[in-house]
């Protein structure tokens, strides 16, 4: 059976190696687009295993990044390739550098954004698909872009997504709404760690307790059945 499975995987490599879930596609968008400005300060490369990435893919992804590694004997800063146990972190070395590169604004960290953003994922997707060209005569503050989802109709983030901007490995058509929804799925996964395991464990625990409650109900009834006199 196992050999059959491996053989089928080799016969149809698209199933084995290529993105297929929204979260996996969202990771592709993150790697190619978002991660040039936004950080994932609390998610490690190894955590991506939960999305179905193989160990070798994770190692290869981590190894692409050089991270600070203290000082060498001459006092010069050293770097090393990241390990899977390192956090994905920020593309910038400091918050100050991040601000300098982004007109003074700090691109928010992605780790818990799904949770801390008012309106959650739906709001983030809404912002991503609401860039249009401003109506004539509309004056925008310098360094900001027209976005109909924002209360004041402008946002500091340049439009990050464009149709056909990336190439999905599973062949999905990379339209802006498609990429926005995939990024949303990825952020949702990052913002609620171990949600699937949580629900699976929860179902087991609840059924166990429900059955135990049934037994205890019968036990209690049988024990108290001896007390027939009316209660005071």
């Amino acid at each position: 059976m196992r050999r059959l499975f491996i053989a089928s995987m080799l016969a149809f490599p698209a199933f084995a190696a290529h993105a297929s879930t929204p979260e996996q596609r969202g990771l592709e968008v993150f790697r190619q687009v978002c991660s040039s400005c936004h950080s994932l300060n609390h998610v490690t490369y190894a955590d991506l295993g939960e999305l179905g990435l193989s160990v070798s893919d994770i190692k290869a992804y981590a190894a692409q990044h050089e991270i600070p590694d203290g000082l060498d004997d001459d006092g010069d800063p050293k770097t090393r390739p990241a390990h899977p146990s390192d956090v994905i972190g920020s593309p910038y070395l400091t918050a100050g550098m991040a601000r300098m590169a982004n007109h003074g604004g700090l691109p928010p960290d992605f780790s818990r954004l799904a949770m801390t953003q008012k309106g959650g994922i739906r709001r983030i997707i809404d912002i991503l698909v609401s860039y249009t060209s401003p109506p004539e005569g509309k004056k925008l503050p310098p360094g900001s872009y027209y976005n109909t989802a924002m209360p004041h109709l402008h946002i500091a983030m340049p439009p990050p997504l464009h149709d056909g901007q990336i190439k999905y490995t599973d062949g999905t058509n990379p339209t802006v709404p498609q990429m926005a929804h995939d990024v949303g799925a990825f952020l949702s996964w990052a913002g609620h760690p171990h949600l699937h395991t949580r629900h699976r464990t929860g179902l087991f625990v609840l059924s166990y307790l429900a059955i135990l409650s049934g037994f205890l109900f019968v036990l209690k009834r049988r024990v108290w059945a001896k007390q027939t006199k009316k209660l005071p």
Partner: protein, 394 residues
């Protein structure tokens, strides 16, 4: 000549009679037969506290009490530590379950007069436990060093600062002089531990005083006839067991399917002293007291009324001079006391809502009723009851 070989239990019991004490207090212990399910909530509180302490030990193993690492160490627990998410959820959900159990437990005491003679010490140790639990919960909430941790602590520190003469020195002495910094965070971590473990000691006192007088019951009358009582085991072990299982069902539903329901998402943003959140909201269990703080225009006045609302409970056994315990036989109290519960709930809702004139006046009315009840209504009702009792005697 050697002695006859003894069983291990006899050997142990003749040297340290814990087995016979356990049998006396938890197997044969005589309990009123008519306790309803509200009498389960003490057991619920003990079980949630046990789970809190056990999960807390494992969290402490992975937590770093420094400004630089506190937030990310909690994230690491939630993400990378094996089963860390589960242990942290048990701990976070446990606080809410403990407070819920305690509030019901206290409300039951108020309704059935369990605070009255001869159980005054049960009541006083219980209130001491409530205070300790509150201090522990406050200190614990600061530890993840999110926005609400920081700003919630700021509200409390500011409140302490308003106390004349002692306030400022006390606050700077407790926080180590540099405000809410590294030293303060480390101290709050230690305080969280110390108070958590001292709770166990006070529980022993609480239960010991209870076992001297025995449990009250819904009638409030002393039940001593043999057919009015049952042994603790198997009657209340099974009844508590069933209740406990249902309690755990709610607890589990909460932590597995609604983990974000009882926590504020703002606390997943790292503390930033430069950005005040748009509205600082406490966890639901502190909301009634926060509402009192907010309802009073003067900071010091708010602090006095908020702490006073609990302090006044310590005087309760002496404010209520009626010899009738259960509200079942106190028609006036059956109206006045549910209104008190309503006032507490209203304060809770007010504390969780953004401050608006509507909620402000609701909380003012509620806090006024709280004090009127304990200082005016209850003593008056008690006096009337005693007077009519004396009339019956003539």
């Amino acid at each position: 000549m050697t002695e006859r070989p003894q069983s291990v239990s006899t050997w142990l019991n003749t040297r340290l009679p814990i087995l016979s004490a356990f049998r006396r207090e938890y197997v044969e212990f005589s309990m009123p037969r008519n306790l309803n399910y509200l009498w389960n909530f003490g057991a619920f509180a003990v079980v949630s506290l046990t789970l809190l302490i056990l999960s807390g030990i494992f969290l402490a193993l992975n937590y770093t009490p420094t400004l630089a690492d506190a937030f990310s160490s909690v994230e690491t627990i939630d993400r990378q530590v094996a089963s860390g998410w589960l242990i942290r959820s048990v701990h976070m959900g446990g606080v809410s379950m403990l407070f819920a159990a305690l509030y019901v437990h206290i409300a039951r005491s108020l309704y059935y007069g369990s605070y009255k003679a001869p159980r005054e010490l049960v009541w006083l140790t219980g209130l001491g436990l409530l205070l300790l639990v509150m201090i522990t919960a406050f200190a614990g909430y600061v530890l993840p060093w999110g926005q609400m941790s920081y700003w919630g602590a700021t509200v409390v520190v500011n409140a302490v600062n308003t106390v004349p003469l002692v306030g400022k020195p006390l606050a700077s002495w407790l926080l180590g002089g540099e405000g809410l910094g590294n030293v303060a965070l480390h101290r709050l971590f230690v305080l969280h531990f110390v108070t958590a473990f001292s709770i166990i000691g006070v529980i022993v006192l609480h239960v010991a005083t209870l076992h001297v007088t025995g449990s009250n019951n819904p009638t409030g009358k002393d039940l001593t006839e043999p057919d009015q009582t049952v042994p603790f085991h198997p009657y209340y072990t099974t009844k508590d067991g069933l209740g406990l299982c249902l309690f755990l069902l709610v607890y589990a539903a909460l932590i597995f399917f609604a983990p974000d329901f009882l926590t504020l998402s703002d606390n997943y943003v790292q503390a930033n002293p430069l950005i005040t959140p748009s509205d600082i909201t406490p966890e639901w269990y502190f909301a009634p007291f926060y509402a009192i703080l907010r309802a009073v225009p003067s900071k010091l006045g708010g602090l006095i009324l908020a702490t006073g609302s609990i302090v006044i409970l310590f005087a309760l056994p002496w404010l209520d001079s009626s010899t009738i315990r259960s509200a079942r036989f106190r028609p006036w109290l059956r109206v006045a006391l549910p209104l008190l519960f309503l006032a507490f709930l209203a304060l809770g809702l007010a504390g969780m809502s953004p401050p608006s004139p509507f909620w402000l006046w609701i909380s003012r009315a509620a806090v006024a009723y709280w004090y009127v009840y304990f200082l005016g209504l209850l003593p008056m009702i008690a006096r009337r009851e005693q007077a009519s009792r004396r009339k019956e005697h003539f």
